[in-house]
C-alpha cells in the first residue's frame, strides 16, 4: 500500500509528462518542444525542496523539507529531513525506504511492484524530455512565457481526475528544470513543491544513494 502511495507522489511531482495538449495552439507546441530539448540535456539534478501541504480542513499547513537527487537513467533519492527523517532511494529496479522513527529499511523490487515501475518509467520520460509522448490525460495551457508556466487539468477520463483538480508547473528562467509545482486537489488541499538551489549535471555524492542516514 505504502508503495502505491509513494508511486502516486512520483506520478504527481515528476510525471506530468503524460499530459496531453489536445488542440493546442502552435505557441504551446513550440514551448513544449523547446522545454523538451533543453531538459533532455540535463543528466543529473540535486536540489533542496520545501513542500508546503495546505490542509483545507484545518486551514493550516504542514511543511516538509529535504533534498531530491536524480541521476539519469534510473536513479532517484527523495530525502525528507523535517519534520521527520525519511528516505526513498530508487536505483535501477531496486527500491529502499527508511525512516528514523521506525529505524527500519524496507527493500523491494520494481519488477514486483508495477505501480512503482510505471512511476519510474514516467519520471524517466519527463526528465529525458519525452514531451511528445504526452497522452490524453491532461489539458495543457500556457500561463506565461517568461518564465514558462504550464497548467495541467486532468481530463475527465484520466485516473488523476479523481483527486487532482489542477497542477501548475513553473520552470526556471533558463528552462532547464522545474522550479515549482503546485497541485490543487479535489478535496481543497493543495501542495506547493518548491525546488531550491538546484545543481544540474554535477556529480552527485555517493552518500546521496544511501538510504539510511
Amino acid at each position: 500500500m505504502n508503495k502505491k502511495i509513494t508511486a502516486w507522489i512520483l506520478l504527481f511531482c515528476f510525471t506530468l509528462a503524460h499530459a496531453y495538449a489536445e488542440g493546442t495552439p502552435k505557441e504551446l507546441e513550440e514551448v513544449l518542444t523547446g522545454l523538451q530539448e533543453k531538459m533532455s540535456k540535463v543528466d543529473s539534478i540535486s536540489t533542496a525542496f520545501i513542500q508546503e501541504k495546505n490542509l483545507a480542513m484545518f486551514k493550516q499547513k504542514v511543511i516538509l523539507k529535504g533534498n531530491i537527487y536524480i541521476q539519469k537513467p534510473a536513479m532517484l533519492a527523495w530525502k525528507v529531513s523535517s519534520p521527520l527523517r525519511y528516505a526513498l532511494v530508487i536505483s535501477g529496479t531496486d527500491i529502499s525506504q527508511w525512516d528514523q522513527d521506525s529505524g527500519r529499511v524496507q527493500s523491494l523490487s520494481l519488477n514486483r511492484n508495477p505501480s512503482f515501475q510505471v512511476a519510474v518509467q514516467q519520471m524517466q520520460n519527463w526528465f529525458s524530455g519525452s514531451y511528445k509522448s504526452m497522452e490524453a490525460d491532461y489539458d495543457i495551457k500556457l500561463i506565461s512565457q517568461q518564465p514558462i508556466e504550464l497548467e495541467f487539468i486532468p481530463k475527465e477520463k484520466a485516473v488523476s481526475a479523481n483527486f487532482i483538480q489542477q497542477v501548475n508547473v513553473l520552470f526556471s528562467p533558463d528552462e532547464h528544470y522545474i522550479k515549482q509545482i503546485n497541485i490543487l486537489e479535489k478535496t481543497g488541499d493543495s501542495t506547493l513543491l518548491e525546488f531550491i538551489n538546484p545543481e544540474l549535471n554535477r556529480e552527485i555524492p555517493t552518500s546521496a544513494w544511501e538510504v539510511k542516514a
Binding site: 502511495i5 501541504k53 490542509l55 527523495w78 525512516d99 522513527d101 521506525s102 488541499d189
Partner: protein, 225 residues
C-alpha cells in the same frame, strides 16, 4: 549450574513476555511517592493538561514484522470531546482525514487502498480516544499507593481502566484497559511537553494487545490555539 540455567530460562521468558521490543523513549525516572497526596496530584495534573490541542505527530505503526511511518495533524478539543485528524505519508500524500467525537467518526477522506483494509476511520477514532481522552480517572476511582507508583482503578461493569502515575513530575505514565481480567490495550506516556503552562503528551506508545499492533507517537510541533 542448575540455578544459573534456571535464571537464564526465567530471563528468556521475561524477555519473550515483553515481546523483546526495545522502547524508543527514555524510561520513566521513578522516585518514591510516599509523601504525595493522590487527590492533589490528580488535581494538578488535570489542571495542567492542555484541553485544546493542535499538534503535528510522527506515527509509527508496527504490526508483526512490518512497520511504516506517517505524519499526523491533529486537532483535539477535550472539553467538547471532539477531534479532527489528517494523516499523510512522509512524502506528503494524504492517507486519510477524519473528524469525530466520543460517539462517532466521520471519514472526510480515505485513500482507496486503505478503505480495502477494514474500517480504518473507526479504528483510528478509537485509538485517538484511547490516547488523548480521559487522561485522568474519575473522582470515584479506587486509589492504591505503591512506593514508586500511584494507581487508580475505575470499574464500569466488566470494564476496568487503570491509571498509573509516577516519576518526578507525577504525571500519567500508563493507562490500561481490561475486559474482565484480559488487558486489551495499554497506553504508555513517556514524556510530556510543557508549553505555556500546558501539558502535551510528546512521546507515547499505544499497544493494542488484542489486535497485536503498536502505535509509536512522537510530538513534532504544537500550534497554540
Amino acid at each position: 549450574m542448575r540455578r544459573l540455567f534456571k535464571t537464564l530460562v526465567l530471563l528468556f521468558c521475561l524477555a519473550a513476555a515483553a515481546g523483546c521490543r526495545s522502547i524508543p523513549f527514555k524510561d520513566i525516572d521513578y522516585v518514591p511517592l510516599a509523601e504525595v497526596n493522590p487527590a492533589l496530584m490528580l488535581e494538578d495534573f488535570k489542571a495542567a493538561l492542555a484541553q485544546k490541542l493542535e499538534i503535528i505527530n510522527s506515527i509509527v505503526f508496527e504490526f508483526k514484522w512490518h512497520s511504516f511511518a506517517a505524519l499526523g495533524y491533529t486537532q483535539l478539543d477535550l472539553e467538547q470531546g471532539t477531534f479532527k485528524v489528517s494523516c499523510m505519508n512522509p512524502v506528503g500524500i494524504k492517507l486519510f482525514e477524519l473528524e469525530g467525537n466520543r460517539q462517532k467518526v466521520d471519514a472526510v477522506f480515505v485513500l482507496k487502498e486503505l478503505l480495502e483494509r477494514g474500517d480504518l476511520p473507526k479504528a483510528v477514532g478509537e485509538d485517538i480516544r484511547r490516547i488523548y481522552f480521559d487522561m485522568a480517572p474519575d473522582a470515584a476511582a479506587k486509589v492504591k499507593k505503591e512506593k514508586y507508583r500511584i494507581i487508580f482503578t475505575q470499574k464500569t461493569g466488566r470494564q476496568t481502566l487503570k491509571y498509573v502515575f509516577a516519576g518526578q513530575q507525577r504525571w500519567l505514565t500508563e493507562k490500561h484497559y481490561y475486559e474482565g481480567r484480559r488487558n486489551l490495550w495499554s497506553v504508555y506516556y513517556y514524556n510530556y511537553l510543557n508549553q505555556e503552562g500546558k501539558l502535551y503528551p510528546s512521546a507515547l506508545i499505544l499497544s493494542h494487545h488484542r489486535f497485536g499492533y503498536n502505535l509509536v507517537i512522537r510530538l513534532k510541533e504544537v500550534r497554540l490555539r
